[in-house]
Each structure stands twice: as C-alpha cells, then as structure tokens.
C-alpha cells in the first residue's frame, strides 16, 4: 500500500474487457456454450440462405415421413416438408421469442428490484409483495391462461415487424411472468451495494437518487443481471416450447415447440419417425444447455473476489 508507481494504462476499460473475456473463455463450459450458441445464432440469422424459404404444405418437397437421406438430411414430416428446413426456420422464431422475453423480464426485474432495494420502507414492501405474487404463480400456468385470452382479443391477424401477433403475445407473457426471481436477486444485491461508502460519496457529490441508481448501482449489478439473464433465457425457451407444444404457437411461423407439437399429433413417436421428434427436441436441449453453461461461466467470472470486471 505504498505510493508506488502503477504502470500507466492508456485505455483502462478496453484492457479490463480484454481481461474479462480472457478469463471467461478459460472456462470449458463457456467455450462449448458459446460455440453452440453462435452456431444457432448464425442459423437463425439467415435461414433463407442456408435452407431456402420456409416450406409449407403446398410447396413441400418430399414424401410423407421419409427417413433422413442425402436429399432430406433430417427426413420429412407427415405432409412431406423437409424437417431441416422447418428446424432452421424454427430456430429464428424460438430464439427471438426467448431473447426478447428475457429482455422484458430483465428490464422489469431490474427496475423493480433496484427500486425496492434502494428506497426500502413501504416501497420495498409493496414491490416485494408484487414480486412474491409472480414468484409463486407458476409462470407457465399463468402464460397458459393469459395467452389464449389475449390472442382472442387482439386476433391472430396482421404481422408486426415480420412476426405474427401471437408470437408477440407469447413474448410479452413470458417476459411478464418470469421476472420475479431476477427482481429478488437484484434487490438483495442492491441492499448490500447501497450501504457501500461510494453511494454516500455520490450523495455528497450531489447526485440524485435516479443518477445514483443508474450510474452507481446498475453498473455494479451487471454481473448478477448477466449471469441470471442467461438462466432466464433457458426458462423462456422452455416456456415457449411448452406453450407451442400445447398449440398456442403460430402454425404459420413454427417454433421448435410447434414442430414438437406437430410431430406429436402426427404420431411420429409411434410411427418410428425419430428424426421428426428428435431434431427440434435436440435443438431445444442444446440451446438451453449452452445458455446454462454460459450463465454459470459468467457467474464464476464475475466472482466478486476477482476484480477484472469491465
């Protein structure tokens, strides 16, 4: 603890990010997760280039329930559509729903948790009772109830940004029902952060409550939010798959859940069409697993005892 000269660093933040990435990538789980995720993101980003436009019953290219062959790498479904084509297009729908729902969930969870933790008192009590409500209500069941009602009210009509409204309903419903545990984690972290001296210093420096929350608390909450965000994505994928499996997805923009549902209805399991059930199933599994791996690696990297966080 002397006044020794610490080497001059021209770009502190860039170096901190580099250090963080180096450590993050040293985890095997993070590598596997990232490779899988990048693969699926690329697939989801350009399905038309990879497998051509989405096949429908009208422009189906194969026989019924054809096993994998050189023509149809993952076989065909009960109306002759190429399963590879469906799965690749499904990736776009599944990932979009999961990621957007996660963004909604993190924004609500962080806002509620940070507000409750920072202000305390009655604000805390009421916001936490609200959180408790969403915490104990199983989000899947709530989504199951809300989705058909909203779909009925607004209809399955026109597109929004190229996505059909039923998908947006699913996104919003998943987002609104999965923020409770993010809110709790953020609140507990806020409670410990707000006792730190640098919050007092910020107050003496004349910062307003909003500025303290945005400029002091939020940057220090990023580790928790990021690590848990990865887990929220996994949950969102499961809920989306389940909802679609139960027929609440959109048949014209099939996600992996919708495909599983179609396969189930077509009797793929009893017909021995393992490719039809297996392909979307494996995709759901791989993507969820890679998010969990990334989330765990993030959590390890953000360990408060190592201060290499950007």
């Amino acid at each position: 603890m002397s006044d020794a000269i610490v080497p001059y660093s021209p770009r502190g933040r860039a170096r901190a990010i580099k250090g963080f990435l180096g450590q993050f990538l040293s985890y095997g789980g993070a590598q596997v997760g990232l490779v899988c995720l990048v693969f699926f993101l690329v697939v989801a980003a350009m399905p038309n280039i990879l497998v051509g436009p989405l096949q429908t019953a009208i422009n189906a290219t194969g026989e019924f329930l054809e096993p994998p062959s050189s023509q149809h790498l993952l076989g065909t479904d009960e109306v002759g559509r190429d399963v590879l084509n469906l799965v690749v297009h499904g990736a776009r729908i599944s990932l979009t729903i999961a990621l957007l729902a996660t963004v909604i969930s993190l924004v609500i969870g962080t806002t509620v948790g940070m507000t409750a933790g920072y202000f305390g008192g009655p604000v805390d009590v009421w916001l936490m009772r609200l959180t408790d409500f969403f915490f104990v209500v199983p989000s899947f069941v709530l989504a199951l109830v809300i989705t058909p009602v909203v779909l009925e009210v607004i209809g399955r009509g026109r597109d929004i940004l190229g996505f059909r409204p039923s998908l947006f309903v699913i996104i919003v419903v998943i987002g609104l029902t999965s923020w409770a545990f993010v809110g709790r984690i953020v609140r507990s972290q806020t409670l410990s952060l707000k006792e730190r001296t640098f919050i007092d210093r910020a107050r003496v420096a004349g910062s307003s409550n909003l500025s303290i929350m945005v400029r002091h608390l939020l940057p220090n909450l990023v580790p928790q939010i990021a690590a848990n965000g990865a887990l929220v994505v996994t949950g969102a994928i499961y809920v989306e798959t389940s909802l679609s499996f139960l027929g609440l997805g959109d048949p014209l923009q099939p996600s992996w859940g919708t495909l599983l549902s179609l396969a189930q209805r077509a009797g793929a399991a009893s017909a021995g069409a393992w490719w039809y059930l297996g392909a979307p199933g494996l995709c759901v599994l791989t993507v969820s697993l890679s998010f969990v791996l990334i989330g765990n690696a993030l959590e390890d990297t953000f360990d408060p005892r190592r201060r290499v966080i950007p």
């Binding site: 603890m1 002397s2 006044d3 020794a4 610490v6 001059y8 660093s9 021209p10 770009r11 502190g12 933040r13 901190a16 730190r196 001296t197 640098f198 007092d200 210093r201 910020a202 107050r203 003496v204 420096a205 004349g206 910062s207 307003s208 409550n209 500025s211 400029r215 002091h216 940057p219 220090n220 201060r307 966080i309």
Partner: protein, 340 residues
C-alpha cells in the same frame, strides 16, 4: 488564520436513533429507547479553521460528520451554515448549493470509490451533478486541477485508471481530489489517514494543510488520534459518548487538558521511549458505555479516576477554564492543571 465569522455553527445538535422495541415492550408500554449517538453538541468552525474532533470509537464523531455532510438527519438542535439554517433541508436539488460548499473525505478509500468508474468520472461526478461546469474542456480543466492539488501528477495519467489499479495512497488522493473539485469552503475529513501507511500519512496531511493555507478552506478533521489532531488542528474538540467534554486550542488541549478523559486519552497514546514519567495517572479502565444506556450524571463518571458523589448525580456544564477553553468537568477549575 481563522476569521471571526463562523462558517458552521452547531447548536445543541442531537442524533438519536430509536431502538425498535420487541412485542413485549410495546404490550407493556415501555418507553421507546434510543441510541443517543450525538447528544447535544455546540460547536463552531471558523472560515479557514482546522478543527479536530477527537474521540474513541462509539463517541459519535462519525455520526456528527455524517450530519454535517447531510448524510444523516439530526433529531434535534440546529445546524447553521454561513448563518442559514440547514437543519431540515433535504433532497438532492435543494441541497445543491450546500453540497457545493461542503464536501467530505472518507476514511476507507477502497470503499469510497465505485470500482466501475474511472478516476476522471469519480472526480468529475460532483462537477457534473452540481452543474458547475459548462462544457467538456472546462470539466477536464477542473478535474486536472483537483487531481494536481491532491498531489496526483501528472493528472492526465490518472484519468482512465480504475480504483483497483491505484495504490492506497493514490486512492485516498483521488477521494480528496473528488472533494476538492467543487472548491468547497468546508471539508469534513473522517479519519482520512487512518487506513494509510505511516509513510503516506504525512504527505496526505500536508495536502490538507496546504488546502487551508492556499484556498482558505475550513476543515473538520475527525480522528481518534490526539497527537495527530495536535499536529494538524487549530482547535481540538474532545467527544465522549455523544457529547463534547472539552474544547480548546490544540496546544491547550494537548499540554493543559482540564478534563480527566482528555488526560486519559493523552496518556493512552503510545510514545517512542515508553510512557516514563506518566505513571501517576492510571490508564483508562473499561470501555465506552453503550450510547443506548448513557450513565446518569456525568457520562464519564463510571470510568473517571476522580469521580465523586456529585458526578453521579448531575451532569457538569461546560466551564470556561481559559481563553477559548471549555471543559465539562466539576473539577475543571480545581485550581491546578491535570496535565502533569
């Protein structure tokens, strides 16, 4: 150096923290007890004056510092800054003019700096939130100036560093620079050097003294270390269990203490060469009582070697024992100095 006009005046300032009673207490209707952290303090700080607040841990010195910097709200008494009553002013926008004039230096520089902010952002924060600069160039100038006054040279080298890249002394200098940036008139320094190596202490103290000499800044220096207080301060106020027991010029308090607590504090100070020649005054016995159970009468009597019956019954008022020298002890004017 100090002017006659006081910059800060505390009038019987009080901070009581109520103790949440149990269910049984409420059913039985027991009165709500309180931790009397600060229990009626009168103190004034002149322009450009350095006043040291000395006391053991638990004496309420940190709470007093937090009240003056408006981090805690007093429960009684008044606080006047440049004649204006600041006691009940609250809210970040209402306090802006006050924050501009009163800043704080924190004890633990490791904790007082946000690990996610660069040195530039840390020092610039008060300038930005108090809206003291108009543009980026001006901001950079003020930040450089503050870092340079705090002894970080050349300032530009530190702009993009993070707190974890700095040494302990450098961090404390950044904390000081953050307080200086707004050019305040009063700085409350809460044990600014207690976490630092002895070799760094002198340099940091020199920075603080220079500030007073160059910018005529008043300083309220909170410490538990009497020799340190004597070194830096014009006047010393000794705090015991939320109350001032003695106040006077630094030399008077150090060499002519009239309160047995001050004497005990002085004798408790280790010195190179041992405590030879001080044997006649016994070391302080026991610990500071809980501020939730302040003793009746003089609050120092359970530990006082000179206590007699009257001390257990009635609390002594501050008695003038010399010019600018007050001591709250029944024996303060006992004719002889207790310094021997």
């Amino acid at each position: 150096m100090p002017d006659n006009a006081d910059i800060l005046r505390l009038e019987s300032l009080q901070v009581h923290f109520p103790i949440q009673g149990g269910m049984l207490d409420r059913v039985l209707g027991r009165p709500v007890r309180a931790v009397r952290a600060v229990d009626g303090i009168d103190l004034n700080v002149g322009r450009g004056e350095i006043v040291a607040l000395v006391g053991e841990s638990g004496s309420g010195k940190t709470t007093l510092g937090r009240v003056i910097t408006k981090l805690a709200q007093p429960t009684g008494g008044r606080m006047l800054f440049e004649g204006r009553d600041m006691t009940s002013v609250q809210g970040s926008s209402a306090l802006r003019p006050y924050r501009h004039r009163v800043q704080m230096i924190f004890q633990d520089a490791y904790q007082a700096l946000n690990p996610r902010h660069t040195v530039f952002d840390i020092v610039a924060e008060p300038l930005r939130s108090l809206r003291l600069v108009e543009n980026g160039t001006q901001l950079a100038e003020r930040v450089s100036e503050a870092l340079a006054s705090a002894g970080l040279n050349p300032p530009g080298d530190f702009f993009s560093r993070f707190p974890h890249e700095l040494s302990g002394g450098q961090r404390q200098r950044v904390v000081i620079a953050g307080a200086l940036a707004v050019r305040p008139e009063l700085i409350v320094a809460d044990e600014p050097v207690s976490m630092l190596d002895v070799s760094i202490r002198a340099q940091i103290l020199q920075v603080l003294v220079d500030l007073r000499d160059k910018h005529h800044m008043a300083l309220l220096f909170i410490t538990h270390d009497l020799p340190l207080a004597w070194l830096i301060a014009d006047r010393i106020a000794v705090l015991y269990l939320g109350k001032l027991v003695e106040i006077g010029t630094a030399d008077e308090i150090t060499f002519n203490p009239r309160h047995p607590y001050t004497v005990a504090l002085r004798n408790a100070t280790p010195q190179i060469g041992g405590n030879a020649g001080r044997a006649e005054s016994p070391a302080l016995q026991g610990e500071v009582p809980s501020a939730a159970r302040v003793p009746k009468g003089c609050r120092f009597h359970p530990r006082c070697p000179l206590a007699f019956d009257h001390c257990r019954e009635e609390e002594p008022p501050p008695i003038e024992v010399g010019p600018q020298h007050l001591s709250a002890c029944w024996l303060a004017n006992d004719g002889r100095s207790r310094s021997s």
